[in-house]
């Protein structure tokens, strides 16, 4: 998605060879109408898949997931990183290792919101080592639903998660794949 590559170049801040900050349109401030374009793009790429539900992880996945859900006219479910006080005991839980935060956390989805009739599209803001996606994959497998694919806004190609997931047979559609980055700027995979 050319417009996304341009936006990353214009607004993104390369903090190191592994960390890209896109707080101006994706992770803190959200460019709502641009996010709607992102949602349209995902919806278009998966339009023939009869998706019944979008699944993401709080927090930064919610905006692109919401945009995609609106375009596909399906609900979205966001996995919670903490069990809320009003959350049922009937939940799927999986473990996720966070690259940016250097911690292990659990993601939780109430069983009532995914079932084996569902054809699920996972949406997330970043794909690095793929741990978040693997966590969701485990939950989706346990529920008996079908994981149709994953739509990723920005994939850090050099961290290998995308390759691993594609090798495992998952359709991963990333709107921008960063091959490498550093002081010289960002090189996208074309």
């Amino acid at each position: 998605m050319k417009a996304l590559q341009e936006k990353i170049r214009r607004e993104g801040k390369v903090l190191s060879e592994t960390i890209l900050k896109v707080d101006s349109f994706l992770n803190h401030q959200i460019d709502a109408n641009f996010m709607l374009e992102v949602g349209k793009e995902f919806a278009n790429r998966f339009k023939d898949e009869k998706i019944t539900k979008i699944v993401t992880i709080e927090t930064s996945g919610i905006a692109p997931a919401m945009a995609t859900a609106v375009c596909l006219d399906v609900p979205l479910v966001f996995a919670k990183k903490t069990k809320g006080s009003t959350m049922d005991k009937e939940i799927y839980v999986s473990q996720v290792k966070s690259f940016t935060k250097g911690i292990v956390y659990h993601i939780n989805i109430a069983k009532e919101f995914i079932n084996k009739q569902d054809k699920i599209l996972v949406i997330d803001d970043f794909l690095a080592y793929g741990h978040a996606l693997l966590g969701l994959k485990n939950i989706i497998k346990e529920s008996g639903a079908q994981l149709v694919g994953a739509g990723i806004v920005i994939e850090k190609g050099f961290q290998g998660g995308g390759k691993e997931l594609r090798d495992a047979g998952i359709r991963v559609e990333s709107l921008a794949i960063i091959e490498r980055m550093g002081k010289e700027g960002i090189v996208f995979q074309e």
Copy 2:
């Protein structure tokens, strides 16, 4: 908003006289197209106010805020409950007491994303005692921006936050105000 009252009656679970669970369309699973209707309603109520930015708090505020931002064609900023590893040092911080979780937490907004030219509409999923909104109000005041008003999906009228904020001169537009609830069901303020 009649459709919202009906949805709360149909899908909401009254867990006690103070706790309403709306995980099927607002706080865990999100009814994306219904949320877009919510956004249209907020956008319509504040359409003459020349809003430049939507502000909310992660996590459950993001979906209605995103919908409103799309309808008003402005960006949204979500306050973070933790300082992310890539977050600048230049941030506004305020303290918030959570009713449902019984804890005190801090909300953080990077200074670069609000400034004194901004006319801000705050959007949130719930209004109970009003602490989250007061926290955002403090940050907005510190930034020099103008707090135009607040759009709330569900106000628990009996917990007094709405009254306190309106008494303080803030325009609060709640799409559904619960007067009381319990085993007999939910009574809305008309």
